[in-house]
């Protein structure tokens, strides 16, 4: 695992976001609410995942004007999403000087075989993963942060739980294997042996490991963090709820006090209605976002 200067700076910013909440926002007003509530970063996008799901059509990188307005307004890091494989959208976002790019399955993929060569960029990338193999492939391409995919816009935590549990379990299993077994595992995981060996030695990913996809309540945030996530992304969960300010603040508190039931109780009181949730098993295979990415 080569930790050159560029990569240390990329993972370094991710280190600074740990224990925090990264909130999806679609305009300046939402970005200000997020910052005021204690978000450690915002993700600028055109529509939150639940609206993308409802309205359909092709989901692309957000309008530059909106991202720029958000960057000019808040003092916390601003991330933006590019479509999977769309390296020119990513180049545009890099030229705009966003702080992080999410190569995201929430947008409509631009390439059904290749992800972006993220090592070729100076701006850091975060990518989604459902299992260890996917996480290590993204890291091999240059991702400096991994997040679970979950099922975006569903308000249902079940997929994010499945993904973080899978990644953590697969990492634990590697730590007890011998050298020759790791060679075989690398083949099964379809990931570089060098990264598989690194995980086997350290029992964790070589980059920060966050969670996203379906987090709607303070308890949801605390759940994925107790399962091993180091910070959370909240998409539709905040601005599709009945009282975004209160919910944003409550999830920020939950990400800090995720092991403290009394504090979680305080965070869970007087929140109003959560976003409506979707039963994942009722969704058609073609409606799933998490299966995008290869």
């Amino acid at each position: 695992m080569v930790m050159n200067e560029d990569f240390r700076l990329k993972t370094g910013l991710a280190e600074m976001l740990k224990g925090g909440v990264i909130m999806d926002v679609t305009n300046v007003e939402q970005a200000q609410i997020a910052e005021k509530a204690g978000a450690c970063a915002v993700m600028a996008l055109e529509r939150v995942p639940s609206d993308i799901r409802k309205e359909g059509g092709v989901a692309r990188m957000a309008q530059i004007r909106i991202i720029r307005e958000i960057m000019d307004t808040v003092s916390i890091p601003v991330m933006a999403k590019a479509r999977i494989g769309h390296f020119t959208e990513a180049r545009v976002l890099e030229a705009l000087e966003v702080d992080y790019i999410d190569e995201s399955e929430v947008l409509t993929p631009a390439d059904e075989e290749h992800h972006i060569d993220k090592k070729a960029f100076k701006v850091p990338f975060v990518c989604g993963a459902r299992n260890l193999g996917e996480a290590l492939r993204r890291i091999a391409e240059g991702a400096a942060m991994i997040r679970t995919k979950g099922e975006a816009g569903s308000g249902n935590i079940v997929e994010a739980v499945r993904h973080i549990r899978t990644i953590v379990k697969e990492m634990k299993q590697l730590t007890v294997l011998g050298k020759e077994e790791l060679v075989h595992e690398a083949k099964k995981l379809q990931s570089p042996l060098e990264l598989v060996e690194w995980v086997a030695e350290h029992g964790k990913l070589p980059v920060p490991n966050f969670s996203a996809g379906g987090i709607a309540t303070p308890a949801d945030a605390a759940l994925v963090m107790q399962l091993g996530a180091e910070a959370v992304f909240v998409g539709s969960g905040i601005f599709k709820s009945s009282d975004p300010e209160a919910r944003a603040k409550a999830i920020v508190k939950a990400a800090t006090y995720y092991r403290d039931p009394v504090k979680l109780l305080e965070a869970s009181e007087e929140l109003g209605e959560a976003m409506p949730g979707l039963e994942i098993s009722k969704l058609a295979e073609s409606e799933l976002m998490q299966t995008r990415g290869w």
């Binding site: 280190e15 600074m16 740990k18 450690c40 916390i76 890091p77 701006v123």
Partner: protein, 183 residues
């Protein structure tokens, strides 16, 4: 000799990296999230992260005043966002701070993430700057320990210390050791 018990404010940010750096430097780290945690330690590190998130959580949990009182007795060391919280005055934008050291700090003063950098300071200290602040002025009681591009990046005043960079993200323990000598 018993190990020094040093708190790391664990509301948000890279507190885990500081915990490991303290272990490497021979101290016993304690994650601090409550007043009771604070009461149990002999010194405190405020880590890197987002100063606005930390401020918000300090107020939600009524830790702002207890922290100032703690600093009246015991040493506090702030890195990056932590340095912003220790300052007397903060700009870009203006925000509240603990006022523990007579420095004026400008947030995100080098620019955005693309302007983050790793440099060598005098004495071969490696400094990792990530969306770092710049100390624009320092009062007469502030002792500058290292500078970069003509502005202080590592400084102390009495029992307190700040670094605008991240010594916790390097394998070099010297900055943490300098803080431990104050405890």
């Amino acid at each position: 000799m018993a190990k020094k018990k040093v708190g790391v404010l664990a509301l948000q940010g890279d507190f885990e990296a500081h915990r490991k750096a303290l272990e490497r430097a021979g101290a016993e780290p304690v994650e601090v999230r409550t007043q009771a945690d604070l009461d149990s330690v002999d010194g405190l590190i405020i880590p890197g992260g987002e100063s606005t998130s930390m401020l918000k959580l300090l107020h939600i949990e009524n830790l702002f005043e207890p922290l100032r009182q703690f600093a009246g007795q015991k040493p506090v060391f702030g890195t990056c966002a932590g340095a912003i919280l220790l300052a007397r005055e903060v700009s870009n934008p203006a925000q509240e701070s603990l006022g523990l050291m007579d420095i004026a700090v400008e947030r995100n003063a080098y620019g955005r993430q693309l302007d983050s950098r790793i440099v060598k300071l005098d004495g071969d200290v490696e400094a990792v700057f990530i969306r770092a602040p710049i100390i624009r002025s320092a009062g007469p009681d502030v002792k500058v320990l290292a500078s970069y591009n003509g502005t202080p990046v590592w400084a102390e005043q009495g029992r307190h210390m700040v670094a605008t960079f991240h010594p916790e993200l390097t394998a070099d323990n010297r900055v943490h050791e300098a803080f431990l000598r104050k405890i």
